[in-house]
């Protein structure tokens, strides 16, 4: 399909340009202007991304909306971007979450507003760049650049322990990605001087280097996902980040890791992926079960949701390493749905935190008496987080469990434990926060959600229900790409 208008470039650079414009408003006396520019930019960013869906050719397995220019010749690096059925939904998710984050920070952020809003817009553009890069070096540049705004967001607007969390977040992620860089350079050498990801897909590599490359990629992506045992940065980062930061982290940045597995690990090192599949499945199951148990014990709401994110992302990596179209699609659905649900959960906690300035479960109780509308929304998202049928949280998990069953009963058994654990930790927290007697006098003072908060939660609620009942619009766009990926992964490159 030929598509001459540089749509993808627009999707990448429009938010970045708006972000720079927001920075330019400078001082806090222009805060209102900064907010409106940010809102306009993020909504425009979403609008220009819509043609990506409407114009997408769902039968094609090739990259679409491709743009390819020479970036620097010295190392044969190209500005080569395009999307397929895997990256397109993730770009849309990102473009959708950005306006929500801007709205979520509207009144809450009072200091250095322009820097806050600008950082989110710039990050949104950078993340779109990560999802659409077809050149490994371009990918790497966007991938690393996305660390900078998040580092600042956590460090400047975060909670009391923000400096520790920000530096931990940065160094952890950097560790993984630096080894990925070495892997890229090695691939550049073996491919005879190409940084094209599609060339790498066709490159024949012996098993030992494949395993080493796989491990380098694994470190980069596993930290990002995050998989057990390299997940420890996530609870810290989530707890300390401002609400908007937590939303973007959970909804978007974790997806970068999952996307990396599909774009790099599986197609570039298929034999190593098969060779190490059992290890990956076991690690994923540990994330699902063990982290689920840890979530049960949390006294801090944000930490609980952070751990539940790790558990849910365990399903994503589990789905990838079943080498089955059903599993991969389930994992993709799980990624998108987790974007909505975890984003919504963090927004809900943010709503409470803005009023009470506490995230401790024990400080709450009886909130439903004062905030009935909020309690209803929170109920829906909590159910979705627990994987209730009819919400989007169910679809992905169910598909992955079904697919796991084909491989091994016991794998499926442990995976299915999530339905119990997820319900246990989410609903128990919900019960302690929302129901019961009002014991804290501060809860007595609570006001129900404002119009701004209502809009935020309503948009996510609609999406959660819609994709829970009718996920077809999501799965149909990824069918062709995923089928081709599975064929590719199941054929040896040795």
């Amino acid at each position: 399909m030929s598509f001459d208008f540089p749509l993808l470039s627009l999707i990448i650079w429009l938010p970045i340009l708006f972000g720079v414009a927001v920075f330019a408003t400078g001082h806090d006396r222009n805060a209102q202007l900064a907010r409106y520019i940010a809102l306009t930019g993020s909504i425009l960013g979403f609008m220009v991304a819509l043609p990506l869906y409407t114009q997408f050719n769902i039968t094609s397995t090739a990259m679409q909306f491709v743009e390819n220019y020479v970036w620097f010749e010295r190392f044969n690096v190209n500005y080569h971007i395009g999307v397929d059925g895997i990256s397109m939904p993730l770009i849309l998710l990102n473009c959708l979450i950005t306006p929500l984050v801007v709205i979520a920070g509207w009144e809450v952020i009072k200091e250095r507003v322009s820097q806050y809003m600008g950082a989110f817009l710039v990050m949104s553009g950078i993340v779109n760049g990560v999802f659409s890069s077809l050149d490994a070096m371009l990918f790497y540049v966007f991938w690393e650049a996305s660390l900078i705004p998040m580092f600042l967001i956590i460090g400047i607007w975060g909670g009391p322990n923000r400096v520790y969390a920000a530096i931990k977040f940065f160094l952890y992620t950097l560790l993984g990605s630096l080894l990925m860089l070495v892997a890229f350079i090695y691939l550049y050498k073996t491919s005879g001087g190409s940084f094209s990801i599609q060339d790498y897909h066709q490159l024949a590599i012996p098993l030992t280097p494949q395993i080493l490359i796989f491990i380098a990629f694994l470190l980069a992506f596993a930290v990002k996902v995050p998989m057990w045992p390299v997940h420890t940065w996530l609870p810290d980062a989530h707890v300390e980040a401002p609400t908007g930061g937590s939303v973007v982290l959970a909804a978007i940045l974790l997806k970068l890791g999952g996307y990396g597995f599909l774009r790099f690990s599986l197609p570039i090192t298929p034999d190593a992926s098969h060779y190490l599949a059992d290890m990956m499945i076991v690690l994923s199951l540990i994330a699902v079960v063990y982290i689920g148990l840890i979530a049960l014990m949390q006294a801090d709401m944000k930490k609980l949701i952070a751990y539940s994110s790790v558990a849910h992302m365990g399903f994503v990596t589990l789905g990838f390493f079943l080498f089955d179209a059903y599993g991969v699609e389930g994992a993709m659905v799980q990624m998108i749905s987790h974007g909505f649900i975890s984003g919504a959960m963090f927004l809900c906690v943010g709503v409470l935190y803005d009023r009470m300035h506490s995230r401790q479960i024990t400080d709450y109780g009886g909130v439903v008496n004062k905030m009935p509308i909020f309690a209803a929304f929170f109920m829906l998202f909590a159910m979705a987080n627990a994987g209730l049928p009819g919400t989007s949280g169910f679809v992905g998990e169910f598909m992955v469990i079904m697919s796991t069953m084909k491989i091994s009963f016991w794998y499926a058994f442990f995976a299915a434990l999530t339905l119990i654990l997820g319900a246990a930790y989410t609903l128990w927290m919900y019960k302690r926060v929302i129901f019961g007697q009002v014991t804290n006098s501060a809860v007595e003072e609570l006001q129900d959600i404002s119009k701004r908060e209502f809009v935020l939660l309503a948009i996510l609620a609609v999406l959660v229900l819609w994709f829970g009942v009718y996920p077809f619009p999501l799965t149909e766009v990824m069918h062709a790409t995923v089928d081709q990926l599975i064929v590719h992964v199941n054929s040896s490159k040795l």
Partner: protein
């Protein structure tokens, strides 16, 4: 037998520089303290004149003169032009700083120009003695510059250390050179290369000589384990002089390595490769780990320099044009970053207040968001995070290393740069996450402002469009080999 005068044309910029240094010294005697800007302008004009001379006679081929002791080639001209630019930027940045501290005297300018002359000679040397001569002109001027604040104990101590260790290193170099002379019978770079190619009897003498030469080079580059002078000198010297020591001489050092190891002793690559691997790994380890513990920012940057020099040496390990051009690109990127960083430190200095500690960066983003942003770019660039130029420098070098088959070395290098990222992040933490301790406004002259903005943005813009600079590095190397 008639006397044939040598061809002076290839050395025209050096000759011009020498004349002008004398002119600057004499002119300075005639102006009073309140009209010292005349000296300053004359110095800038000298650099500009040299640039014009070098540029107008930019050579695309290798020209030897003075009986093969002096060479003019693309690499030399490129490095010289960059040296002029860097020295000129150093003078602009440090003008206010030295004026505030009573160092705005003729000596500062004439010593700087003498040092520049030394660098030019080093860059253009094609004979071991010329190399040594250039090195000594540079080093002696630098010793004096460090001691310029003569009433400061710490400066004097730094100068003494610098002098003693520098003299030791020069001794090493001379000893190594004499052994090479003994083995090959020549001191002319290309003659030495030819002699080695034809085979020498005393291979052992040659290798021992090489060891001494590599040790001497490591001293000058401040590569571990010959790095001990760097932290003390960086800390003790007035910041303006630290800026000078940390920036322009790196080009000369690069030229020095090229002439000695590559043009002279490339046949012995298999011998020096192993030495460079050890030096590089040690520098990256010591530099990055020791930097974490520093609270004095100049000391921290000294250790950071050591680690960067380790990275730079990696570029030479592959022993091919690809690697050398990567190393050259690394030097250019490094000098750009150093200029910006030290300029930023001087920016925080005020009359009577010396910004020395990392904590002086506290709350900079609230005092001045724009300069905090530029420092942010510089720090991420030093840490090697894209899309800043420092990343492409690392990429180029790592690529050369992997290409030469040292994948493990690339892994070691990235792990140490991960450690390095921590102390750069710490400065960002101070700037962005902490409250300012003072609300003193940051005042700048217009020329500094323009240059600093250009310098900071170049870090980003050259990072997004690195092709031109990479092309220049590759051209300069390929055209001179």
């Amino acid at each position: 037998m008639s006397f044939m005068p040598p061809d002076f044309a290839p050395a025209s910029s050096e000759i011009f520089m020498l004349i002008m240094v004398c002119v600057v010294m004499l002119a300075d005697l005639t102006v009073g303290q309140n009209r010292r800007y005349v000296t300053y302008l004359l110095t800038q004009a000298t650099l500009f004149g040299c640039a014009v001379l070098t540029f107008s006679s930019f050579s695309n081929e290798v020209v030897l003169t003075f009986s093969g002791m002096f060479v003019d080639d693309t690499l030399a001209d490129t490095l010289k032009l960059m040296t002029y630019g860097t020295v000129s930027a150093v003078l602009i940045y440090s003008h206010t700083y030295i004026a505030d501290r009573g160092m705005l005297r003729g000596e500062f300018f004439s010593l700087t120009l003498f040092a520049t002359l030394g660098m030019m000679v080093m860059i253009s040397a094609s004979h071991f003695l010329t190399l040594y001569l250039g090195l000594e002109i540079l080093s002696l001027s630098l010793y004096a510059l460090v001691a310029l604040r003569r009433d400061s104990v710490i400066s004097t101590e730094a100068a003494m250390k610098f002098f003693v260790l520098g003299a030791l290193a020069s001794g090493f170099l001379l000893y190594g050179m004499s052994m090479i002379y003994g083995a090959t019978g020549s001191l002319q770079v290309t003659e030495v290369a030819k002699a080695i190619q034809n085979g020498v009897n005393a291979k052992e003498v040659l290798v021992v000589g090489l060891v001494f030469i590599v040790a001497g080079i490591s001293f000058k580059l401040s590569a571990a384990p010959f790095h001990m002078w760097a932290p003390d000198v960086y800390q003790g010297a007035p910041t303006a002089v630290t800026l000078f020591i940390g920036s322009a001489p790196k080009f000369a050092a690069f030229g020095f390595v090229m002439r000695l190891l590559i043009e002279g002793l490339e046949q012995m690559a298999s011998d020096w490769q192993g030495m460079l691997v050890i030096l590089a790994v040690m520098s990256m380890a010591i530099g990055n780990i020791a930097a974490i513990a520093q609270s004095n920012i100049k000391r921290m940057l000294a250790y950071s320099t050591i680690s960067h020099m380790g990275f730079l040496l990696l570029g030479f390990i592959s022993a091919d044009a690809n690697g050398y051009s990567s190393a050259l690109f690394y030097v250019i990127a490094y000098v750009l970053m150093t200029l910006g960083t030290f300029a930023m430190i001087m920016l925080l200095c005020r009359n009577g207040f010396e910004a020395e500690n990392i904590s002086d960066f506290k709350g900079l983003s609230k005092r001045n968001a724009w300069y905090a942003f530029i420092t942010l770019l510089l720090m991420f660039s030093l840490a090697g995070i894209p899309p800043m130029i420092g990343f492409y420098a690392k990429l180029a070098v790592l690529q050369a290393v992997v290409n030469a088959g040292f994948v493990w070395l690339a892994v070691v290098a990235v792990l140490f740069s991960l450690i390095g990222a921590f102390y750069y992040l710490r400065i960002i933490k101070f700037m962005y996450f902490d409250e300012p301790e003072t609300n003193e406004p940051i005042l700048l002259n217009n020329d500094v402002k323009i240059l600093l903005n250009a310098n900071g943005l170049a870090i980003l813009v050259l990072g997004i469009f690195p092709q031109a600079l990479m092309g220049i590095s590759l051209y300069a190397i390929q055209n001179s080999m």
